[in-house]
């Protein structure tokens, strides 16, 4: 094995990696392609009501995210094709062109905005709520200091919980495991999107009668936005107009209520603001 050969291999690897990551910088033909195909391919996360889930009776995909995808496709005058994604693969699906856009519980963060583009008008604002045992005596986020807190591995609560509140964060594969770990006493709190756990505590009151969501504020309420590949200005503009339209007409608010989102304050504000124009 000579040094020359090693250098060649390293160079080859580097070259192929650059080629791989270079694919995302293509011209914006997505909007034309969507219209040409007559299909909008949306990456959706089906992690539970009210955002996205499979109805056990009809096997249909339901939820707020699914409904938004349908409304957007209808507004663009195309059909909806939905693709189920998970937190580890969603961005790859988008960058490899398997989906056109992501409506996948992804909040706006600065880091993400470096890699992807997003539709500037958010479709929701979501923050984290902590489910804790009623007899735990925990009253606010600061009480979690030094205590084990369960989250699901895709959520963006790890950093604020660890850095701001000093909690010991335990990321489980998804929400059901995290909640099971809470019930088993492996964590003192499980932090998830407020709307999801709020609904769970209501719907399965019997199973969850010893638990509550006692903290007054939500953790890092942030904007849920639609994500797309970098540089697709046309698609971004078209979708932004659609989302604004859905806000103004009250359609988003209606969808949120139909899907039983508990906190629709943000949507109501947006509706007022945009319908006044």
């Amino acid at each position: 094995m000579s040094a020359k050969l090693t250098a060649k291999i390293v160079f080859g690897l580097a070259l192929s990696i650059t080629a791989l990551s270079g694919t995302q910088a293509s011209a914006d033909s997505t909007l034309e392609r969507i219209k040409g195909r007559g299909k909008l391919t949306v990456g959706l996360i089906l992690s539970g009501a009210p955002f996205g889930f499979i109805d056990p009776k009809t096997q249909e995909q339901k939820g707020y995210n699914v409904d938004i995808a349908k409304a957007l496709a209808a507004d663009l005058g195309v059909e909806l094709e939905s693709v189920t994604v998970t937190p580890p693969n969603r961005v790859q699906f988008l960058q490899q062109g398997k989906v056109d856009i992501l409506i996948a519980n992804m909040q706006y963060t600065e880091e993400r905005a470096k890699v992807l583009d997003y539709v500037p008008t958010p479709y929701d604002r979501a923050g984290g709520a902590a489910v804790v045992r009623k007899d735990s005596g925990l009253k606010d986020w600061a009480d979690l200091k030094g205590k084990p807190v369960c989250i699901s591995q895709g959520s963006n609560y790890a950093q604020p919980l660890a850095e701001e509140y000093g909690a010991i964060v335990k990321g489980l594969p998804s929400q059901p495991e995290s909640l099971l770990a809470l019930q088993g006493g492996n964590c003192v709190a499980a932090v998830h999107v407020g709307a999801t756990v709020g609904l769970l505590l209501q719907d399965r009151a019997d199973e969850w009668k010893d638990f509550a969501i006692p903290f007054p504020n939500e953790l890092i309420p942030s904007d849920s936005v639609i994500w797309l590949r970098k540089g697709e200005a046309d698609t971004q503009k078209a979708l932004d107009e659609s989302v604004k339209k859905l806000h103004a007409s009250g359609k988003l608010l209606e969808l949120a209520k139909a899907n039983r989102l508990l906190n629709t304050k943000y949507l109501e504000e947006e509706n007022k603001k945009l319908s006044a124009k």
């Binding site: 580097a14 990696i17 961005v91 880091e111 950093q159 850095e163 990321g171 489980l172 088993g184 006493g185």
Partner: protein
Amino acid sequence: MQDMNLTSLFIELMARLGLNYEFLATGYEAQIWRDGFLTTLYLVAVTIPVSLIVGLIFAACLTSNRPWLSAPVRGFVELTRNTPTLVQLMFSFLVLNTVVSNMVGGAQNNPLSPFFWVVAVVGLHVAALHAEAIRGGIEAVPSSMIEAARGMGFSPFEIMRYVQIPLAFRSSLPAIVNGLISLVKSTTVGNAIAVSEITYASIMVWTQRDNVVELMIVLLAFFSLINFVVARVGSWVERRLAIPGYGL
């Protein structure tokens, strides 16, 4: 300061290649990622001896003539060999651990950590594989040799200790090294119950930063390196223990 400069130089260089390692410059994410490497190494270092010792005990039980020793171990080996490690781990942590907590009067009294469950589940799973390999080795010891040992007045335990195990260990060593390599890979199931080993740390970073490719490259290189070392040590032991002329 020197360290900081090296990190930012690395980030800069990788960015030119189109790779995003920016999280290394942050506090929390860089910290859990660095700790992830150590936790994986620690996990491997603890689980390998556990699997070897338990594997040896299992093999001794399996080849014993006493059914009360061999039957339970046979049952355990079948169960653990035939079910996925991930399912065993989830079951242990989410069900058994809860049962233990209830028995000792609350989770705060339960000393069993997720780390313990990974060591126990992966260690015993691989121990079952070792046991089968060693059992094969024990049964391959020529019966004339055991008879000779018995003739010299060795007790059954002494025959096991001085004749069967030394020979069985040598002949089953390649299979044991294979088992250890799969053990190293199996430690990654720990991410399912939030043991902060390196795949867990990577998942926590890439679900926020979406730099899956970058972290995958490091993960693959890291595990290749560990297993390269394990395989090398294995073949070194094989050479050291070889009995000239015996063919083992």
